[in-house]
C-alpha cells in the first residue's frame, strides 16, 4: 500500500521534530524532503544551537544564501571536531626502556635499567610504574649533602632518548621528587609548561645508619588535576620527543 500523508500534516509534525529526526526524515521521499528541509524549520534550530551560523547565513554576500539545514550540518561538524579524540599513539609501552640513576659526583649510588615490557602496568591504566630494584644500600649520610637523580626514557634500539627528570637534591632525606615536563607543543609556548610533571619516589627503609632502596616508583602527573595521566596520553607526549629522532 502506498500512502502519502498530506503536506499540512508533514508541516505540523515537522515543527515538533528534533534536528536528527528531521534530517533522517528528509531521506524518506522527495515531498518529505521539501517539508523537512525548509528554512522555517532550520532557522530556529540553527539560532538555538549555533547562533553564529545565523549571522553567517546573511553575511554570505553576493545575494546568495546557504540553506539553514546545511549550516546546521556545518555547526555540528565544527563542534564535533572539538570533541575529536586524539589519534592512538604509535608508540607502545614495550618500545620503551626506563633508566634511573642516583649519583653523587662521580660515584653511582643506584643505576637501574628496566624495559617496560618487564613491568606490570597500573590496573587503572595510568602512567605509573613500580620499578623493583634489588635492595641497594648506601649510607644515610650520603643522602644528606645532596645527590643527583636522573630518569630517562629510551626508545628500543637506541633510536631516541628523553630525559624525564634530572634534578639535584639539595640534601636531606627526601624521597619524593617532581620536575615539570617541557611543553610537547605544536606551538612555541616559550615559558609555558606542559602542565605535567614527572614524579619519582624512592621506596626505602632505614637500617642502622644505612639507607636501603627497595623500589623506585615513577609516573607522569597532570598538575591541573593532580592525577596520573593515562598511558595513551603519556605515550602521545613521549612520542613527540622520541619519534622525531626516530625518523
Amino acid at each position: 500500500m502506498s500512502f502519502e500523508p498530506p503536506w499540512q500534516v508533514l508541516v505540523l509534525v515537522a515543527n515538533r521534530l528534533d534536528p536528527k529526526t528531521l534530517a533522517m526524515a528528509s531521506c524518506v521521499s522527495k515531498s518529505w524532503f521539501l517539508s523537512m528541509s525548509s528554512d522555517c524549520l532550520w532557522q530556529p534550530i540553527c539560532s538555538t544551537h549555533f547562533p553564529y551560523l545565523s549571522s553567517l547565513h546573511f553575511s554570505a554576500g553576493g545575494g546568495s544564501t546557504v540553506p539553514y539545514r546545511r549550516l546546521y550540518t556545518l555547526g555540528r561538524m565544527s563542534s564535533k571536531r572539538r570533541l575529536q579524540k586524539p589519534p592512538k599513539p604509535h608508540l607502545s609501552l614495550h618500545h620503551l626502556i626506563f633508566t634511573v640513576d642516583v649519583h653523587k659526583g662521580n660515584s653511582v649510588i643506584l643505576s637501574t635499567v628496566k624495559p617496560l615490557s618487564e613491568i606490570d602496568t597500573d590496573p587503572g591504566g595510568v602512567f605509573r610504574f613500580d620499578i623493583g630494584v634489588c635492595d641497594v644500600e648506601f649510607a644515610v649520610v650520603d643522602m644528606l649533602d645532596g645527590f643527583r637523580l636522573t630518569w630517562n626514557v629510551v626508545l628500543e634500539g637506541y633510536k631516541g632518548v628523553f630525559t624525564m627528570m634530572d634534578c639535584e637534591s639539595k640534601g636531606g632525606p627526601h624521597q619524593w621528587f617532581t620536575e615539570e615536563l617541557p611543553s610537547p607543543g605544536c606551538c612555541s609556548s616559550a615559558g609555558a609548561g606542559s602542565g605535567m610533571v614527572a614524579e619519582l619516589m624512592l621506596g626505602s627503609r632505614e637500617s642502622v645508619g644505612r639507607m636501603v632502596v627497595e623500589k623506585v616508583n615513577v609516573g607522569m602527573m597532570s598538575v591541573l588535576s593532580w592525577r596520573y595521566v593515562s598511558i595513551d596520553d603519556a605515550l602521545r607526549y613521549l612520542q613527540h620527543f622520541l619519534v622525531t629522532s626516530w625518523v
Binding site: E4, V9, L17, T21, C27, W32, R76
Partner: protein
C-alpha cells in the same frame, strides 16, 4: 457521581444551547453543548458571525474522527477535570493507528482546536523520533520516489544524523 447535583442545576437552567455537527463524509450527526463545540475556533467564528444554522456541516471529517474530536472537547470543557485527568484522557484519544492520527490532526487543524492539534501532532512526531527513513516509510506507507543515486546523495548530505545506523 460527584458532579450529579451540578448537572441537575444545569438541567433546570432555562435553556441550554446545543449545536448539531454533521459529518459531510457519512452524514453522521452529533448534538453537542454549545460551550463544548465552541472550543473549535472555526465553529466559534461561525457562531459569532451568525453563519451557523441549526446544523453545522463539517466537510472532510468522518463521523469516527468527529466523535474523537467531540470527546476531546467534552473532556476539556469539564471544569472539574484535573490536569492529570486531562493528560490521561488525551493520551487515550491519541492512542490510535497512524492513519487515524493523520485524520485527527487534519481535523484539529481545520476546526482550529489548538490543544488537540498539539497532542496529535506531537504523538505522530514521537512515533518517528530517532527512526531512520526506511522505518518512517514503513510506518507511513510512503513510496520511495528517489532513485538509488538520489537517495545515496540525500543520505550523504545528512550523514551525521545516521550515527549508529548501518
Amino acid at each position: 457521581m460527584a458532579s450529579a447535583p451540578e448537572n441537575e442545576k444545569n438541567a433546570s437552567a432555562p435553556e441550554k444551547k446545543t449545536l448539531t455537527l454533521k459529518s459531510m463524509i457519512n452524514n453522521e450527526e452529533f448534538v453537542v453543548d454549545e460551550h463544548v463545540a465552541l472550543q473549535s475556533v472555526t465553529i466559534k467564528n461561525m457562531v459569532d458571525s451568525d453563519c451557523a444554522g441549526d446544523v453545522i456541516p463539517v466537510p472532510t471529517i468522518s463521523g469516527e474522527i468527529l466523535a474523537l474530536v467531540i470527546e476531546y472537547c467534552k473532556n476539556h470543557a469539564n471544569p472539574s477535570a484535573s490536569e492529570d485527568d486531562l493528560k490521561k484522557a488525551d493520551a487515550g484519544i491519541v492512542a490510535k493507528d497512524i492513519y487515524t492520527l493523520i485524520d485527527l490532526v487534519l481535523a484539529a487543524n481545520f476546526l482550529d482546536i489548538k490543544g488537540l492539534l498539539e497532542v496529535t501532532s506531537q504523538k505522530i512526531a514521537d512515533s518517528i523520533k530517532d527512526l531512520p527513513h526506511q522505518d518512517v516509510r514503513e510506518i507511513f506507507g510512503v513510496e520511495n520516489d528517489y532513485t538509488p543515486e538520489e537517495e545515496a546523495a540525500v543520505r550523504a548530505e545528512h550523514d551525521w544524523a545516521f550515527e549508529g545506523f548501518p
